[in-house]
Every structure is written in C-alpha cells, then in structure tokens.
C-alpha cells in the first residue's frame, strides 16, 4: 500500500469518525461545563457560608483529582456499586467536572474584580440581588473571563483524548488503532497532531474574535 492510498483509504475515514467523536465530547462538555462553572462561581461569591464552602470543595476536589483517575472511577469503579455509564457518558461527566471546576475559578476571579458600585447602583434602582447579578455583574464578569474560558476550552480539546483510555474511540484512539494495525506510527501520530493543532488554532482565533466582539468601547 503506497502513502497516498494509506492516507485516503485508511487515515481519512478513521480520522473522520474519530474527529466527530472528539467534537461530540467537546460540544457536549463545553456548554454544560461553562454553565456549571458560572453556578459554582456565583455560589462561592454570593452563597451563604454553607453553599460557598460546598462550592469551594467542588472546585478543590475536581481540580485536584487527576482526570484520568476520575475517568477510571466513573467508568470502572462505579459499576461495582451499581452505577453504570456508557464510555461516552462517563467521559463527558469527567470532563464536565474538570472543565467546570477550572472555569469556576476564572469566573469567580472576574466576579470579584467587578467594582462593588455596579451592584450597589443596580440595587438602588430596585433590582433584586439576583437581577443585579444576572443583568449587571455577570455580563461584565463573563467578558473578563473569555481568555480563561477559551484557554480551558483548548485544554478540553486536548484532554478529550483521555476518553480513549475508557474505550471511547475518538481522534487519538482512532489514530492509535490504525497506527498499530498498519505499523505506521510516525505518519499517523504526526498527522493527528496536526489535526489537534488545527482545532486549537481555530479555537484561538475564535476566542480573540469573541473577545473583540464583546469588548466594551472606550
């Protein structure tokens, strides 16, 4: 088999299905991870003692736990106590825990960087605390979090390859299969690295476009 046929007949179809799986993992994780991250951050800043403490525990635990270990627990460990996830669901859960924990840190930092006067002025107009947080504080805090959140998104693209360790055949898994089968490690892994690089590059440009779009004039 020559190089061209290998690339066209083996690599491209394998990468295509692997890439779709990687994108699915990322597409499901990212929005949920962001929403939970916002919730955890708000809980830490605005919650009472109990809630704030609980949310801090969440952030500490899921930032501290090695992701691969987390995936093993979710996929191999939990069935022994009767909780069974498909490989895809276990992966997404692990990623969401990790992604949201890190996002919550970025967002919390942005929230406390917003001057207190913004909240005071909103309250003085008769907004409830929740209205003030949702309409005044979060729109500003999230803008400031865009660099951190997109950084986290880039990590997510790359660590989504860990799903392979619990049998999800995503991009890295797919490449590993054909590399072994055709004994073509160098070309396959190099090619797959380029695909990741392309994804990350697109994300980087997307993030800076987003930052520009939401920049506050003046």
């Amino acid at each position: 088999m020559d190089q061209i046929t290998f690339i066209l007949d083996v690599m491209v179809p394998a990468f295509e299905s692997g890439l779709l799986m990687t994108l699915a993992l990322v597409a499901v994780t990212a929005p949920i991870g962001l929403l939970i991250g916002i919730g955890v951050a708000c809980g830490r800043v605005y919650g009472g003692k109990g809630l704030s403490w609980l949310m801090q525990l969440y952030a500490i635990f899921f930032r501290g736990c090695p992701l691969l270990l987390l995936l093993f627990i979710l996929y191999f460990g939990l069935p022994s106590i009767g909780i069974v996830f498909t490989p895809f669901v276990a992966s997404v859960l692990g990623f969401i825990f990790c992604n949201s924990a890190y996002n919550s840190e970025y967002i919390r930092g942005s929230i406390i960087s917003i001057k207190e006067g913004q909240l005071i002025a909103a309250k003085a107009l008769g907004m409830t605390r929740n209205q003030a947080i949702i309409n005044i504080v979060l729109p500003q805090a999230l803008r400031r979090s865009i660099p951190g959140i997109s950084n986290e998104f880039i990590y997510l693209i790359k660590y989504s390859s860990l799903a392979y360790m619990i049998t999800v055949i995503e991009l890295t898994g797919a490449s590993k299969l054909i590399a072994t089968k055709y004994f073509a490690y160098n070309e396959t892994f190099f090619a797959v690295a380029l695909v990741y690089l392309a994804l990350v590059t697109i994300t980087t440009f997307g993030a800076s476009a987003l930052e520009k779009k939401f920049a506050i004039p003046g």
Binding site: K115, G117, Q118, I120, A121, A122, K123, A124, L125, G126, M127, T128, Q131, N135, I136, P139, Q140, R143, I216, P217, G218
Partner: protein
C-alpha cells in the same frame, strides 16, 4: 402622629460599624418638593445616612417612612421603595457594559417590566431631560464625568422616583463639569422634585436648598434655612466649616 404632611420621615436613625458609632440618632423630616442639603466634615456619616434611607445600609435602630409607609423592615418590598427613592452617587456607578440609553432602560425592562419599545422611548426622554440624548449610544468610558453623572441622574429619574438622594454628585468633577450637573439638579428642584443632597457646593446649597443640615460626629448639629444657617450660625464648628468654604470659594 405628625400634623404636617411629610413625604419622608427619618426617625432617630442609629448605625455603627463595629465600634465606630457613625450615626448617633439622626432625625429629619422632608416635605414634598423640598430640597434639603447636608454639609459637614468628612466621615460624619452623611453618605451612611443617605444609604440608610434606601436601605443600602441597614440601620441598627430608628425608622424611616416614605409617604407614611415604613421603609425600614420592608423585607422584599424594599425593591418597591427603592424605585421610589432615586439615588445618584459620587462616582456615578454607571453600568460599564451598557450604552447610556441601555443604562437608563435596563431597570425599566427588568424591574418595571416595560415593553422594550416603551422602555426605549422613556429612556430617550429622560436623556433629553438631562441634555444627553445625543450621547445615547455611547458607553460610560466614552463620556466625561459630567456627562456620566447626567446619565446617572436620568437613570434614576426614569424610575419615576418620589424623592432623589444625591451623594456628593459633583465631588469627582472639575468646576466646569460641576456646573453642568448642578444646573440639571437645579432644574429638577424647580420642577418640584424632592431632593436630599450631600454636597460641598455652598453656592448650590444657598440658592436651591429649603433647608441645610450641618452634620458632625453622627448628629445633625445645626439645621435651618440657608439664610439662618449661613449668615448667623451660632454653632461654632458650623461657622468654622462654612468659613473654610468661603475662603476656598474666594
């Protein structure tokens, strides 16, 4: 209880921050359409008093009534009272991520739940009132201090408040910009708005206020009409304080 009809009654308000007794029992009554100015040295509790009136700071004791309805201990109904009590801050506190017109309309949309079209019309009307209609689509960072303060006045007025609280509205502004803001406030007073103004602008206080309260150490030490207070202050500290301002303004 009261024979005269007051729009705002502040009764024996006390407030301490830790061991710092900032307000030591302040009472003041305001009639509809009156302008009451508060003057006095720094740290005597003028801002704290205004913040107690709309409960941004919760007083330790004492009562506040707006139109004979109790504002203190209002629970969630405080958000109703805050719409009736407009507030303008020294540092404007405009919402940084919103244009001038969005600053004015956001509470109309979210608090008063006006339909978008109506909210926009009302917001533009209020901006016109303060001479800022041409700046409707500019962000706070693109405005001068005087312009920003006028937008923040429009934002408060849009809620149709019954009284307005001003906490040193011109202290962050240079004389030129101070003048444009004071003009707006003067117009407002002439239109019959009830106003409580913490200020160091003695010129404004003398020409607009119905009553001036001199505050010191958490008390109102002296109060009266501008003529009573400025021409003949019996209270020594007040005299000295006003004297200092006279010197500055000369």
């Amino acid at each position: 209880m009261t024979e005269e009809k007051y729009i705002l009654r502040v009764e024996n308000i006390k407030k301490a921050f830790g061991t710092n007794q900032v307000l030591q029992g302040v009472s003041v009554n305001v009639r509809k359409g009156e302008t009451v100015c508060f003057i006095g040295p720094s740290g005597t509790g003028k801002s704290t008093l205004l913040r107690c009136i709309n409960q941004l700071t919760i007083p330790d004791s004492g009562k506040i009534f707006l139109n004979d309805e109790e504002v203190t201990h209002a629970g969630p109904r405080i958000n109703y009272f805050r719409q009736k009590i407009g507030m303008v801050f020294q540092n404007f506190f405009l919402f940084d991520h919103l244009t001038a017109v969005r600053n004015v309309e956001i509470a109309l949309l979210k608090v008063k739940k006006l339909p978008p079209k109506e909210a926009r019309e009302k917001a533009l009307y209020e901006l016109r009132q303060v001479g800022m209609a041409d700046w409707a689509d500019h962000y706070p960072a693109e405005l001068s201090g005087g312009q920003a303060q006028r937008v923040s006045i429009a934002r408060a007025l849009a809620m149709d408040p019954e009284i307005m609280l001003f906490d040193e509205p011109t202290s962050a502004l240079d004389p030129e910009l101070t003048r444009e803001v004071l003009e707006v406030m003067k117009k407002l007073a002439l239109q019959g708005m009830t106003m409580l103004v913490v200020t160091h602008e003695m010129g404004f206080a003398c020409s607009v206020a119905n009553k001036i309260c001199f505050m010191e150490h958490g008390h109102i030490k002296e109060e009266g009409s501008p003529a009573e207070l400025l021409n003949n202050p019996e209270f020594e500290r007040c005299k000295a304080f006003i004297g200092e301002f006279r010197e500055y303004s000369q």
